[in-house]
Symmetry: C2
Subunit: 457 residues, 2 copies
Amino acid sequence: MNERLVVIGGDAAGMSAASQARRLRKPGELEIVAFERGHFASFSACGIPYWVGGDVAERDELIARTPEEHRERDIDLRMRTEVTELDVDGQRVRTRDLESGAEAWTGYDKLVIATGARPLRPPLPGIDAPGVHGVQTLDDGQALLDSLERTKGRRAVVVGAGYIGVEMAEALLNRGYEVTVLNRSEQPMATLDPDMGRLVHRAMDGLGITTVGGAAVTKILTGDDGWVRAVATDDAEYPADVVVLGTGVVPETGLARAAGLPLGVHGGLLTDLAMRVRGHENIWAGGDCVEVLDLVSGRERHIALGTHANKHGQVIGANVGGGYATFPGVVGTAVSKVCALEIARTGLREKDAREVGLAYVTVTVESTSRAGYYPGAAPMTVKMLAERRTGRLLGVQIVGREGAAKRVDIAAVALTAGMTVEQMTVLDLGYAPPFSPVWDPVLVAARKTLAAVRSAG
Amino acid sequence: MNERLVVIGGDAAGMSAASQARRLRKPGELEIVAFERGHFASFSACGIPYWVGGDVAERDELIARTPEEHRERDIDLRMRTEVTELDVDGQRVRTRDLESGAEAWTGYDKLVIATGARPLRPPLPGIDAPGVHGVQTLDDGQALLDSLERTKGRRAVVVGAGYIGVEMAEALLNRGYEVTVLNRSEQPMATLDPDMGRLVHRAMDGLGITTVGGAAVTKILTGDDGWVRAVATDDAEYPADVVVLGTGVVPETGLARAAGLPLGVHGGLLTDLAMRVRGHENIWAGGDCVEVLDLVSGRERHIALGTHANKHGQVIGANVGGGYATFPGVVGTAVSKVCALEIARTGLREKDAREVGLAYVTVTVESTSRAGYYPGAAPMTVKMLAERRTGRLLGVQIVGREGAAKRVDIAAVALTAGMTVEQMTVLDLGYAPPFSPVWDPVLVAARKTLAAVRSAG
């Protein structure tokens, strides 16, 4: 008896799920049909800033697997086909071919929803003017590159100073632009505490990127030719030959909402640990359209990140394919960089801890990436949060140069394991002068945080 | 009532203990006397290869704290003073001033033994010839540098291909020497499994370092001037203008043995978790002269490594100073490099697992340090061992280029936490294209190892 799996969304989560299910179930046992409304499947959205900036030469390098390659693996991937309706009771989806306009219903035995996220496009006057770009899809990236080619001026404004914002600031700097970043919060990287964000701000200043905090964009101004010419805030106008929006994303769950599937407070689908949509035995969801459990705060969060999407896909594929796997949750690890400045965070910020009622102590230490005497030893700032009394690790933020970002993995594993900072002080981490001071910066932070826990009582 | 703490050995463990005790107890409460037989205190022995190789310009950069600085902190550090006898019942040590020859007894209330390790110098003909060098102390390093200055020839032989051996091979290569490494095992880095050691071998070949495996040195040959001229094995003679011994170290515990203190099978002092010598309420020991518990195998090991010595010192200092701290053990993490090749290991090798009766599965994967499309993405080989059936992580070995070594920390924390490879597959590690593929190499290894655990049954 041949079952049919339908996958909505042909990117990381959807195609990982499809591929993993295919590994476990032969075409004679499970038919797999996947619908993707865009022009590309299985591409690295995280790589777009590096393509725009010129570190990655060709668009196609960002494509992990082409539609043809998926089809060779017996996955019936239909591109440019949008799912317009989900009929849960009828176990079917309605699709529209975006080229021909043809509509059809496709039945499923099992369904995977991997519709991703969509960029927040604030409804500002001028937001749709030519020269204003999002950077979520490869088409977006190409359109931006075309604009960079077309514009004569070299002034760029980036709206938003989160991951995409700072990465796009670097990309535009690499392309020779004079870059201004307008940010609602006082400091860039609001996923860090403001004191750590200030370090990023200072480094961006040093790179010649103008970062304006507390800037609420009110409109996009255009010239006589209709092309963007400036971005306006309450206080000022910032001339711009090109504008990039890095204003965050929200789960793309219109379809799921219309079908009555359970959504969380952030608008993402709610699943169980096997990534099954709550209350629906034969529907799974993963990637940027779901909410995930934050293992540190115990709350649901929405995090759009390719590495989670891939894991979700694996877990879903295993379960759909008759195996068993779970995704227990995240600890909120994220790394980024602006030129040589590395930025990393995991776990809770001060404000997160307060929000969930955790009393904490926090310590910030300065250390170096290598033994102080070893060439290339670079300064690194590590901020650590631990719960009062118990000393349980709550979060770590790191800003530094080479070797800073991936050190956050130490804390990510420790958070997952529920370690205390006291346990962390004796972790057996790799030490040799080219790689670390004799006390790794994370251990230095753990020692000082332990002292702070004790003196806080 | 003023107590006296005596510390034997003025390097990492001893002086960390002294410093930490001083932080907790004022000079009026605790007198601290430390004896060091050498010319230097608190120096980084791990840094010597980089000084010899020219990465570190000045010897004094390797000195973390001078004797004067210790004395300013009210630690009575007596240099060039050897402890020649330990009278446990009488609570006193006999010392000899190595300059004047004067002997004296000094009583103690509390004692810290931090006598370190001494290099294994095989009793070979010619081993004491000029031009043959150990590299354990700063004096050794200076003597070697003097030899490099003095010799006209440019052929160097390194005996031993462990950490010191490979690091010294790099140092001598940097100094323009033609380097041959003679190694007893078939592959360099016997702290790795041979299949991973082979990757190091190949990389050393590529650098122009000749590595000879299965080479048992029988004698050192000298010229008419008495200076070394070659190293002989059973099979061959290797011309040498300078010879460096990297043949390992053993705990320096002659004093402790004579005093009847408990030693383990590796000749190191045995302590409890508070680093107190077993059965002796007022004697602590730490650093390269003790054995430590391997948390993965449950066996005692001897590991001479500055980062452990510093932790031991902290723990001892806390306990001596009236606080409380413990050192639970190690998981056996070590990192090193030969030029751009990074080498890392933690936990058990295959042979270690067999020795303690653990059934295991093992998998080796190839991945990259960054997203494949990101500039500078370098190949990385990760070998992982997990226990059969339970899937508990047992060990990880990594060989690769930039970004390889410190990734072992992920496994070090996971080992400490007793994680299974299944738990590791969903670890929330830092991901961005400049730092990692979307599946970190350690996660790729965990996934494949999980599959191997399942199919092994």
